[in-house]
Point group: C2
Chain length 205, copies 2
């Protein structure tokens, strides 16, 4: 937390939304990428935090319980917002208060990102109108049905449409987060993080 007073450098915040029914790795994969990056390279000026609407711990889809660092009321002004997926997105996709909050955030954040079925909630909020996007491979049709104006892409780990970046299912969020490190810092930095977390998987299983 290197906020300077009167200097030109201000800490920039990446926020990961947590919610009940969130898929565990959707959030913790990108968390690891961003946290590894920002802890090892604080000079890049970013920090990552988590928050839930009410600031309480969340019960994830597969049963893990993760605490939130903030509520939406206390989370710092974000440059990057990441919306995970999971079964809980079914509820969020019709939760007017959540969709309204997302549209408000869209006006404030430079980069709106989602993992897995998180893109269904972005679509339900109208924020993917006319944009290119992806989702969990089992949710691509649903994504198109939510908003016919979306250019739905399958078979890719993520779709970078400028100020909106959406990823495919679950583990693809790690790949997307590494890509975002490349955008926010440098390709060299993304490579360092990839090496640091030893994310260079072969098909060994």
């Amino acid at each position: 937390m290197t906020e300077t007073n009167g200097g030109t450098t201000e800490t920039r915040h990446i926020g990961i939304l947590l919610f009940d029914g969130m898929e565990e790795l959707d959030a913790v994969g990108p968390w690891e990428v961003f946290a590894w990056w920002t802890r090892h390279f604080p000079e890049d000026g970013y920090v990552v935090t988590t928050f839930s609407h009410d600031g309480a711990a969340v019960n994830c889809e597969k049963g893990l319980v993760v605490e939130a660092h903030h509520s939406t009321a206390t989370v710092p002004e974000l440059e990057v917002l990441l919306h995970p997926g999971g079964d809980g997105t079914q509820r969020l996709s019709t939760a007017e208060e959540h969709l309204r909050w997302l549209r408000e955030q869209r006006e404030r954040v430079s980069l709106l990102t989602s993992v897995c079925t998180g893109s269904l909630v972005l679509a339900a909020s109208g924020l993917l109108r006319g944009r290119a996007a992806t989702s969990n491979r089992s949710a691509l049709e649903r994504l198109g049905n939510l908003d016919r104006s979306i250019a739905v892409h399958g078979g890719v780990p993520y779709v970078d449409d400028g100020d909106v970046v959406t990823s495919a299912g679950i583990a693809a969020g790690i790949e997307m987060a590494l890509h975002l490190v490349g955008r926010l810092a440098s390709v060299e930095r993304a490579h360092q993080v990839r090496e640091g977390i030893e994310y260079a998987p072969n098909s060994a299983g």
Copy 2:
């Protein structure tokens, strides 16, 4: 939780140890693999759970707080024990009570596994004597220094030495967990889980 009474099928438990200073993805990567598998294929007879020594939530190395489902006193008898890594392993490597507990577990579990620097704790407990093992790439020398009888392997995502399987750093735990699904169920099942969590990463970042 399909424990049957008097039948031949009993639920087999995979336990992930949580501790302060644990690296987030070391635990949550394998958690996602095992949870996705066991929730989608309960007929395979496995469940996965987490536990900490006292049952309390743990403060991970990068700042995430994760709750435990059990304490060591309440966790079910395990078939598979997974020991994550992280800075907290420095403390655990000299914590006699923890090392004694590990040696006791070794007598009870069929499969002892670790991610990242978790193998340093296994080595400190004497359980890697004369065995093949790996660790975070930055900890390979430390692993060998802890016990000269260990055959240390670098440059591989994991080392399967039968009843002891150790993985390389952080994200390599996902690869190891997929391999373990292959051993505990079938290679076809491991493939299904890999597809399901969309873990088929290319170097796109």
